[in-house]
């Protein structure tokens, strides 16, 4: 057990996840390097709050989420949930502890098409958590299942159908119902609407919002759509090449971003205010490869504000203002 600061439910400390890269030799394949998918990431999430995780595709958001839930084995680092050492619990092989932790933390997948078993009916899918955890009496299973279906906006007759008979939005509702069946306290939603029709995205996001207030859930909301992040989140972390480069309270981040990368991301959000000129910052170059990244600032090749030290040392994530963290040597300056 670890004493977490008041209200903090999740604490991630120096989390690292590397994927080995192999090259085929004549006889054997040998490791030539590592993908630094998630590299030394630390943050905290408070009870009932939503942390937004933004960054381009490939920046390591999914890897971070799955590693927190021990769906990927971490390379190093620690995660505490309500003071419980998550990785230690999963490594302990103590079935009871593992199951009780699994019940607390759940995950909503980006792709609702591949995350439902095509051979199971919706009823089987939603009741499976009951079979695994046995936290409610068997005769209540169908009652609870129908309750969940209605809660996520589906109807009773949907229960005997198979996933392929549903639209993307409905499938995502099934996924949400399945996650809720264990009565979790914490939910990671990994781009839950990015594979859905634009017209139904708002519905799903509203549903997630309603559920949060109803069950006092804590969220990590992963997205590359900054406009929804601004809407939903309390705090936002910006990821770039496996690192958090900036972390702040949502309004603070959107109104006074400090990291050049965050500035570029925010400038790309279309503004609804008429007459406002869009001064979109176009980043030069491409996202560098996450395989064996440089030992100096990872954003250096694309940064127009760089100074000599940027190519010599790796900046740390530092608190420059109250609860505003930036990983940039010029983070304290107001760059324009």
């Amino acid at each position: 057990m670890k004493e977490l600061p008041k209200n903090v439910v999740l604490e991630v400390e120096h989390l690292k996840k590397l994927f080995p890269v192999f090259e085929k030799g004549i006889l054997f394949s040998h490791q030539t390097g590592s993908i630094h998918a998630c590299d030394n990431v630390s943050f905290k999430v408070e009870k009932g709050k939503t942390l937004g995780l933004v960054g381009e595709s490939g920046s390591g958001k999914t890897t971070l989420a799955k590693t927190i839930l021990y769906l990927f084995h971490p390379t190093s680092g620690q995660v505490f949930f309500e003071g419980i050492d998550v990785f230690k619990t999963f490594r302990s092989k103590n079935k009871q502890d593992i199951l009780s932790l699994r019940r607390k933390m759940q995950y909503i997948f980006q792709d609702p098409y591949s995350s439902l078993n095509p051979r199971m009916t919706v009823a089987d899918i939603i009741m499976e958590p009951y079979q695994i955890h046995r936290h409610i009496p068997k005769k209540e299973w169908p009652i609870r299942m129908y309750e969940l279906l209605r809660l996520v906006g589906l109807e009773d007759y949907h229960s005997e159908r198979y996933p392929h008979e549903f639209s993307g939005g409905q499938r995502q509702r099934v996924c949400i119902a399945r996650a809720l069946a264990v009565e979790p306290e914490f939910l990671i939603a990994d781009e839950p609407v990015s594979s859905l029709d634009v017209s139904i995205r708002a519905q799903i996001l509203n549903l997630l919002g309603d559920l949060q207030s109803k069950f006092n859930l804590t969220y990590i909301y992963i997205s590359h759509d900054l406009s929804t992040v601004r809407h939903i989140c309390d705090e936002v972390a910006v990821m770039y090449l496996g690192r958090i480069v900036e972390l702040a309270e949502v309004n603070e981040l959107f109104e006074s971003p400090r990291h050049p990368y965050t500035k570029a991301l925010i400038s790309a959000v279309p503004t609804s205010k008429p007459g406002q000129k869009s001064n979109r910052i176009i980043l030069p170059g491409e996202v560098p490869s996450p395989i064996n990244p440089p030992l100096y600032c990872r954003f250096y090749p694309r940064c127009k504000y760089h100074i000599p030290i940027c190519k010599k040392k790796d900046p740390k994530l530092e608190e420059i203002l109250n609860k505003h963290y930036v990983s940039c040597f010029r983070g304290k300056e107001k760059l324009d």
């Binding site: 699994r102 019940r103 995950y107 792709d111 078993n117 009916t121 958590p129 005997e160 198979y162």
Partner: protein, 307 residues
């Protein structure tokens, strides 16, 4: 506006009353459209009927040699003997009917038995990977390269010499099963390797599902279509192997089999074509039937064609 509303209501109702369709339902719909596959099913239906109801439909009892008494051995097909008689006076048509049961018993029995081994080995190797996988796959390679038929003959010969009376079909099933799983286990392993990376498996893990639950409840049902196809072609192979073995005399002499019938026809000094051709045809038709049935199942169950 109200018109629009009622229309919406109606489609909703229509959806409500229509029956849920499982993946198997879709597959059956597709299978029904395939004439060749239906023919395969029909053929095997007849063979199965013969195997189950043989004693009731065969015109003569198994050991009936009344034709011999009447001096009507090696008689060409006639109304009395639809496929003629053999040189000891057995009715060939009746014998063909009696031969269906052992052919199916060995074919299906060996196919199911080898599939049980294949599923166990393939799923464990594919799901757990790593060292277990390497060991199991090396082990299966041994069975793949082994000259199985030779091995089989030696084993059966030994069995025949140590058992005084007939040894039935069990031993043949056992040996064919043990020798036949390796190729299928590799196909199942490949499917497990692929499916364990699917998000619905990750979702099950996230819910706390045990490895056993994931293997049996999540992955295996999605491999079932492959298992069905593999079993069907494995039955065909085992029917041929059984025929070959009994042709060579490595089977229980008390059981009438198509392979044995062909062998007897060769032993007869002056060949009577019906004695060998009809059991040969029975084997060919049965094997062909399973093969086209298997092809039809493969097309009907192909996940790439799913709507």
């Amino acid at each position: 506006m109200s018109k629009d509303h009622t229309k919406k209501e109606m489609t909703k109702k229509a959806v409500k009353t229509s029956k849920p369709i499982s993946q198997w339902g879709i597959a059956w719909k597709r299978f029904k459209k395939n004439k060749a596959a239906l023919a395969g099913l029909f053929i095997e239906g007849i063979i199965l009927f013969m195997a189950i109801f043989g004693p009731f439909i065969a015109p003569y009892p198994p050991n009936d040699i009344s034709a011999f008494m009447e001096g009507r051995t090696r008689e060409a097909p006639s109304w009395d003997h639809l496929m003629g008689t053999d040189y000891t006076g057995h009715d060939v048509f009746s014998q063909i009917i009696y031969g269906a049961a052992p052919a199916l018993q060995v074919g299906v029995g060996a196919a199911v038995f080898s599939m049980v081994i294949a599923v166990l080995v393939g799923s464990i190797a594919g799901y757990y990977g790593g060292k277990i996988d390497t060991i199991l796959m090396r082990f299966s390679e041994v069975f793949l390269v082994m000259p199985a038929f030779l091995f089989l003959i030696v084993l059966l010969k030994v069995a025949m010499t140590i058992t005084v009376a007939g040894f039935g079909l069990g031993l043949t099933i056992l040996v064919l099963g043990i020798l036949g799983w390796a190729g299928d286990s590799r196909a199942i392993r490949a499917e497990f390797l692929k499916l364990k990376e699917y998000e619905f498996v990750t979702a099950a893990k996230c819910l706390g599902a045990s490895n056993r639950r994931i293997i049996f409840k999540h992955i295996l049902p999605n491999v079932l279509h492959l298992i069905i196809v593999l079993i069907t072609s494995s039955i065909a192979i085992n029917v041929i192997l059984e025929a070959g073995l009994s042709f060579l005399g490595f089977s229980d002499p008390n059981i009438i089999t198509w392979g044995r019938m062909i062998a007897y026809s060769l032993e007869a000094i002056r060949g009577a074509w019906w004695q060998g051709v009809f059991p040969g045809l029975a084997i060919v038709v049965t094997v062909l039937g399973f093969n086209i049935l298997g092809d039809g199942l493969r097309d009907a169950l192909d996940p790439r064609l799913r709507e």
